[in-house]
């Protein structure tokens, strides 16, 4: 953790700011939400990493998708993700967003989350323990350092493809497209 190296703060305060204050939107997706309250209370403290849950998606820049994603939940996830302020990072918890997990042949859950919203990192497990969550946060710091955590840029660049995937799943979507052309909002 290089939070106390003043030279890095002076060289690039923006990157250090994004690393050490990750506000997570408190969206309870699936069965993995049972692992979030232990990791933000007193035993495994997440606030010392700068991670704190906030009440709305406008104030957040970290989105944890914890567990299986059914078709109804995916609509809410897409709307929440599009409301967050950039730069934003997504982390998929558990094995269900990776490839379907335990519900690999279910008629109502999606199998690969990466086709619908961009994901920066995955955490394996069913459910991961709080120590795994903290390891993931430190990996996310490394990615932010090397500018490889660019999920939001990919969403902006390939928005046509993401939107067409979402429309293949649902038919007509109730909300208008987020970006008109590439980049312009």
């Amino acid at each position: 953790m290089d939070r106390n190296q003043i030279s890095k703060w002076i060289k690039s305060p923006v990157k250090m700011g994004h690393k050490y204050s990750l506000h997570a939107v408190y969206f309870c997706t699936g069965c993995g939400i049972i692992e979030i309250p232990p990791s933000i209370t007193a035993r495994w403290d997440a606030e010392r990493f700068g991670v704190i849950p906030v009440a709305t998606s406008r104030q957040a820049n970290l989105f944890l998708i914890t567990g299986y994603v059914s078709l109804k939940t995916l609509k809410a996830i897409i709307r929440t993700y599009e409301q967050m302020a950039e730069p934003k990072f997504t982390v998929g918890f558990g094995s269900c967003p990776i490839n379907g997990g335990m519900y690999w042949d279910s008629y109502n859950t999606i199998k690969h989350l990466d086709k619908y919203i961009p994901v920066d990192g995955w955490i394996a497990g069913c459910m991961p323990r709080p120590e795994a969550i903290f390891v993931a946060v430190t990996h996310l710091w490394t990615l932010i350092d090397r500018e490889m955590a660019d999920g939001y840029k990919r969403y902006r660049k390939n928005y046509k493809f993401y939107r067409s995937n979402q429309e293949k799943l649902y038919g007509k979507l109730e909300w208008p497209p987020l970006f008109q052309k590439d980049g312009a909002k």
Binding site: R3, N4, P13, V14, M16, G17, H18, Y20, S21, H23, T41, A42, R43, D45, E47, R48, G50, I52, V54, A55, T56, R58, Q59, N61, M84, A85, E86, P87
Partner: protein, 296 residues
């Protein structure tokens, strides 16, 4: 003069942010965990200023700037040690007027964001301002009557001769009333009704993102500083040495945080009933005592 102005602003901002960070660290330590570092609010503000924020129109931007301007203007009337920028103009009367500018600005900007949570939050904020204004006005009237002046620097000078206001017997009732309403003015539990993240999705700041949230945090830091500095100047002597001044502010703030960690939150009607009952009666009794003593 310009240097004094700039220095006052910077000192107030740094002290306010330090108090916010200290509160998070202290709450964490009381709950048997480590907490974020002391400069965490500064890290949050740096991150928030570099985010791409979403605006809801002209009134949204204007209201937030108005509330920040209200806090900064209020700052100029409160002495810091021996400096007071607007020394000769108005004093306590202007503070009574300008205290409502900050909630009003937040109400304007949150009203422009068409979110029902924001509307509930602003109604709570203005109700709280109404609730703690009643005892606060009575206390300020008592002080103005006893010391026969409206300038805060004058009150500080008189306290340096006669001792702290809290130890002067006719002003004791007003002092106790001010201590009872101090959590409400600061916005800490049990009166943390405005920003209720679990109930109304953080009230007025529900639609703030990026730089708007940064301004809201800065305004919160200024507001904390102003409230504690006013109490220290009026009742605890206010010092001529800035170090001693900050020490007194620190003691008051730590006492407030110790109350904040153990209490849950009131409902808004419970808060108004409390604030208009005992603190208001004590302040009224204090005013009556001072006026009667003055006539004798």
């Amino acid at each position: 003069m310009a240097l004094k102005l700039l220095l006052t602003l910077i000192i107030a901002l740094v002290t306010g942010l330090f108090f916010l960070g200290l509160s998070r660290k202290m709450i964490a330590r009381i709950q048997w965990r480590y907490g974020p570092p002391l400069i965490q609010p500064l890290i949050d503000i740096i991150k928030l200023l570099s985010q791409k924020s979403m605006t809801h129109g002209g009134l949204f931007n204007f209201g937030l700037v108005l509330s920040l301007a209200g806090s900064v203007i209020l700052l100029l009337f409160i002495p810091l040690g021996e400096w007071c920028i607007m020394n000769k103009s108005g004093g306590l009367l202007v503070i009574i007027y300008l205290m409502l500018l900050a909630p009003f600005g937040t109400a304007l900007s949150s009203g422009a964001a068409a979110n029902p949570n924001a509307s509930i939050g602003i109604s709570r904020k203005l109700l709280m301002a109404l609730a703690y204004e009643v005892p606060l006005l009575l206390i300020l009237l008592t002080l103005m009557t006893y010391y026969n002046t409206i300038s805060i620097s004058g009150i500080i000078v008189k306290q340096q001769n006669a001792g702290w206001s809290l130890t002067i017997l006719p002003l004791l009732l007003s002092g106790i009333a001010y201590i009872l309403i101090l959590p409400a003015v600061l916005g800490i539990r049990p009166f943390a009704i405005v920003k209720a993240p679990q109930e109304i999705a953080s009230g007025p700041s529900v639609e703030y993102s990026g730089k708007f949230l940064a301004f809201a945090e800065i305004q919160h830091a200024f507001q904390t500083y102003i409230t504690i500095a006013l109490f220290v100047n009026l009742f605890l002597g206010g010092a001529s040495n800035p170090g001693y001044f900050f020490l007194k502010m620190l003691v008051v703030f730590v006492a407030g945080i110790l109350i904040h960690t153990v209490f849950p939150r009131f409902r808004i009607e419970q808060a108004i009933k409390y604030l208009w009952r005992w603190p208001a009666l004590l302040a009224l009794a204090g005013l009556a005592v001072v006026v009667i003593l003055d006539k004798i």
